[in-house]
C-alpha cells in the first residue's frame, strides 16, 4: 500500500515555514507585501529559503517514519521507549544534526494487574481488553493494560453509583438527590473535564474506586460507525490516560528529576489514593444496565440503549489494581534533542517538540507529532547543507512521559530554566499533528498572526485553496474576522515553556472525528483508513 501521509506532510510544511505548495512554480506565488520583522532584502532571502523548505517535506518519508514508530505500543517507562529514542536519534544524526539525550528518573508506578468484576447480580469478571481486529496488525500485539496513570492501588468492593461526568456540579446534584458515594464504586463517563478532576472529586467524596468509561454518545456509535467499519470507538474500546492533575514528576515539583534529586513523599505528591480504571462502554453496560435506585436528571442519560439510573446498587462491583509501587516505582525516561546552531543569534532558540510516548501504537497520538518534528528537522538540516543555515538556533525535541503528566518536557524546562528564560524565542508544540482534514491552531496571541500568514501560504490538501482559506470557511466567521484559535491552558508539552516560564507558544494540526484516543486502535491501520488516507 502506498502511504501518502498527506496531512502529515502539510503539518510539516507549516512547521518549517512554507512559502508555497509543492507543484506551484515560483512565479505563481504572490510575494507577500511585507513580512513582519524582516527588512526588504531579508524578506526576499527568507522567501527563497521558505520556497526551498516547502519542496523538501516528502509524504513518503513521513510514511516511513510513521510506520517505524507505530509498529508497537510504546508506553513511557517500558523498553519500547528506548527503541523510539534510538530511532529518533539515529535519524537526526544521519541528517547531520547535533544530538543529545536527557535521562530523568521519574516516580511513575505502573499497574501490574487491573481487574474488575460484577459481584452481583450474576457474578462475573469483565473483559478489560480491546482485543485484536484482523485488518489491524498491531492490535494483535500484547495489549497495554487499561491504565489510568497515577491512579491508586487496592482491592475494593461496593455498590455502583453513576455520577454522570463526575464534575463538581454532578456531585452537588447527587447531594441534592440525597445520594452519597462514600464507600461506593463510582462510574463516571469521560468528557467535559480532565479525567484527573474526576479522580480528585471521586476521592474527595470518599468513593472506594472510580471507573471511567467512554460513553457511545461521546465518541462511539452515536457519533458514527465504529472501528473497523468507521473511525469511532467500538464497544470494547478503552481510553487510557493519566489522572495526575499536576505537571512533571509528582515527587519533584519545580525541580528536575535527575538521579539523586531531593524528593517529596508520594503521599504528599497529590496523586490518587483510590483505584481508578478506564473501561469500555461494553464493560460499562454490564454494570450500568441493572443499576436502579434514584432516577437520573434527564441530562445524565447517555447513548447506551437502556435507561440510566443513579443507584446506589443493587449492582455491586469489585475493583482490584496492583502496581509496582513497592518494587520498582522509578522509571527512566528519555527526552531527545536535535540541534541546528544559529549563525547570527546562536543563543536565541526556537524549540519545536512533540511527545514520543503513547498508550498504544499511538499513530495519531503522537507518532504524527513526532514525525512532523522529524520532517522539520530533516528539512532544516538539508537547508543548512545548502548554505541556508538559520540565524537562530532551532532545537527539535521529542519528549517522554507526556501521557503521564507532561513529565519529560517539564523536567527539561526545570533543568534548563536559566537558558530558556534568556534565549527562548518560541516553543512550537506538535501533539497530534495529523489525524483528519480540519486545520486548527492556537497559542499565545503574539504568535497567531505569524501562524495565520503561514497557513495562507500552504495549499490545503483538499485542493480548495490555502490551508487558511479552508480553515476560515470551516470556522464560519465573517470574511473580515479571523478563525478562532485555542488558548494555551495546559494539557500538553507547552505547559513548561508557556505556563511555567512565559515563553511564547504556538501549536497547530489537522484534526478530525475519531474514537481511538488512547486506545490500542490508534494505529497505522486506523490512520491509513480514516485519519490520513492520502
Amino acid at each position: 500500500m502506498t502511504i501518502h501521509s498527506a496531512f502529515l506532510a502539510h503539518a510539516a510544511r507549516v512547521a518549517i515555514a512554507a512559502a508555497g505548495a509543492v507543484g506551484i512554480i515560483a512565479a505563481q506565488i504572490q510575494a507577500p507585501v511585507t513580512m513582519p520583522g524582516y527588512s526588504a532584502a531579508g524578506a526576499e532571502a527568507e522567501g527563497r529559503v521558505e520556497a526551498a523548505a516547502i519542496a523538501l517535506p516528502a509524504p513518503g518519508n513521513a510514511g516511513q517514519y510513521a510506520r517505524a514508530l507505530s509498529r508497537e505500543p510504546h508506553v513511557s517507562g517500558t523498553p519500547a521507549q528506548a527503541r523510539t529514542r534510538d530511532y529518533v536519534i539515529e535519524r537526526m544524526r544521519s541528517w547531520g544534526l547535533e544530538t543529545s539525550v536527557r535521562a530523568y528518573e521519574v516516580w511513575m508506578p505502573h499497574p501490574t494487574s487491573v481487574r474488575v468484576w460484577r459481584v452481583s447480580p450474576d457474578a462475573r469478571e469483565l473483559q478489560l481488553a480491546e482485543g485484536p481486529i484482523s485488518a489491524d496488525s498491531t492490535s494483535s500485539l500484547p495489549e497495554v493494560l487499561p491504565i489510568n496513570g497515577y491512579g491508586g492501588s487496592g482491592d475494593v468492593t461496593g455498590e455502583v453509583v453513576y455520577v454522570n461526568y463526575g464534575l463538581i456540579e454532578d456531585y452537588a446534584t447527587l447531594d441534592s438527590l440525597g445520594v452519597s458515594v462514600r464507600g461506593k464504586i463510582v462510574l463516571a463517563r469521560y468528557g467535559r473535564s480532565f479525567r484527573g478532576i474526576k479522580a480528585r472529586e471521586a476521592e474527595r467524596h470518599a468513593a472506594a474506586a472510580l471507573l471511567i468509561y467512554s460513553d457511545p454518545q461521546d465518541d462511539g456509535f452515536v457519533r458514527g460507525d465504529v472501528y473497523p467499519a468507521g473511525p469511532m470507538r467500538p464497544a470494547q474500546g478503552i481510553q487510557r490516560g493519566s489522572v495526575f492533575n499536576g505537571a512533571g514528576d509528582p515527587t519533584t515539583p519545580g525541580t528536575p528529576s535527575r538521579k539523586g534529586a531531593a524528593r517529596i513523599a508520594p503521599a504528599q505528591a497529590g496523586v490518587s489514593r483510590i483505584p481508578v480504571v478506564p473501561i469500555s462502554y461494553g464493560n460499562a453496560t454490564e454494570l450500568l444496565r441493572d443499576v436502579r435506585g434514584t432516577a437520573i436528571p434527564q441530562s445524565w442519560q447517555g447513548g447506551l440503549p437502556f435507561r440510566y439510573h443513579v443507584g446506589p446498587g443493587p449492582v455491586t462491583a469489585r475493583v482490584a489494581v496492583a502496581t509496582d509501587t513497592a518494587t520498582a516505582p522509578f522509571k527512566t525516561i528519555w527526552d531527545t534533542f536535535g540541534i541546528i546552531r544559529g549563525t547570527e543569534f546562536p543563543d536565541e532558540m526556537i524549540i519545536i517538540g512533540g511527545h514520543r510516548d503513547a498508550w498504544g501504537p499511538g499513530a495519531a497520538d503522537n507518532v504524527s507529532g513526532t514525525v512532523s518534528v522529524l520532517e522539520a528537522a530533516r528539512t532544516v538540516a538539508e537547508l543548512a547543507k545548502r548554505g541556508m543555515r538559520p540565524k537562530r538556533t532551532i532545537v527539535f525535541a521529542t519528549w517522554d512521559a507526556e501521557e503521564w503528566g507532561v513529565i519529560g518536557s517539564t523536567e527539561y524546562v526545570e533543568d534548563d530554566t536559566v537558558r530558556l528564560l534568556r534565549g527562548g524565542v518560541a516553543y512550537l508544540n506538535q501533539d497530534v499533528a495529523a489525524q483528519g482534514p480540519s486545520f486548527g491552531g492556537g497559542g499565545s496571541p503574539s504568535l497567531r498572526a505569524t501562524l495565520r500568514s503561514l497557513a495562507r501560504l500552504v495549499d490545503d490538501p483538499s485542493g480548495k485553496g490555502s490551508v487558511y482559506d479552508v480553515w476560515h470557511r470551516a470556522s464560519g466567521v465573517s470574511d473580515t474576522a479571523e478563525p478562532p484559535m485555542g488558548d494555551p491552558g495546559g494539557g500538553s508539552d507547552f505547559a513548561g515553556f508557556y505556563n511555567h516560564l512565559g515563553i511564547p507558544h504556538a501549536d497547530w494540526g489537522f484534526g478530525g472525528a475519531g474514537g481511538v484516543y488512547h486506545s490500542a486502535y490508534d494505529s497505522r491501520h486506523w490512520m491509513e483508513t480514516f485519519g490520513d488516507p492520502g
Binding site: 526588504a40 531579508g42 523548505a53 464534575l167 463538581i168 536565541e348 505569524t450 491552558g489 511564547p504
Partner: protein
Amino acid sequence: MALRLANADILPYDYVEFARTMRRYLPAVDQAISSRKWQMSSSTLSAAIDRMARSAATFTTTRDSALMRTLTTQTRTAANAALLRVERSLTRPEGLRTRPWLRNLIYAADENNGYANIVFPSVNEAIRTGDTALTQREIDDLARRFDAASAALDDATRILRR
C-alpha cells in the same frame, strides 16, 4: 513557522493583536465584579492594557521603519532581548495562589475542570474566592505586570530609534 521565527531580523511577535485580545477579556471581569455588587473596578488593569496597546503600536511602526535602514547585529540583539522580556513580564515567580508552578498570568487550565481554560487566572480565581480585597490586589498586580510588558516594548522601541 520555525524558519520564519529563526530568520527574522526583529522577532515578529504581534503585541498589537496580543493587547487587543487581552482587552476582550475585561468585560467578563467587570461583569463578575458587578454581579457580586462589589464597589471596585478593573480600571487599573484596563488602563494598563491600553498602555500596552499604545506601546505595541508605537513599537510596530518603529520596527517597520527601522527595518528600512541597516541595523547592526548588536542593535538587533538588544531589541530582540527586550522583546523576549514582554511575555516573561506577564508571569510572576510565586505563580498562582492555587498552583505556584503556574507562573503565567494570562491563561491557565481551570483548576475545577482541567480541560476548560481560565483567562487572567490570578484575578478570576480571586473573584471566585469572594474576597474583594484579594481581587483588588490581584487586579493591581496584573496591571503592574502589563506595565512591565509595556516597558519592555518601549525599550525595544528606544533601541531601534538609536
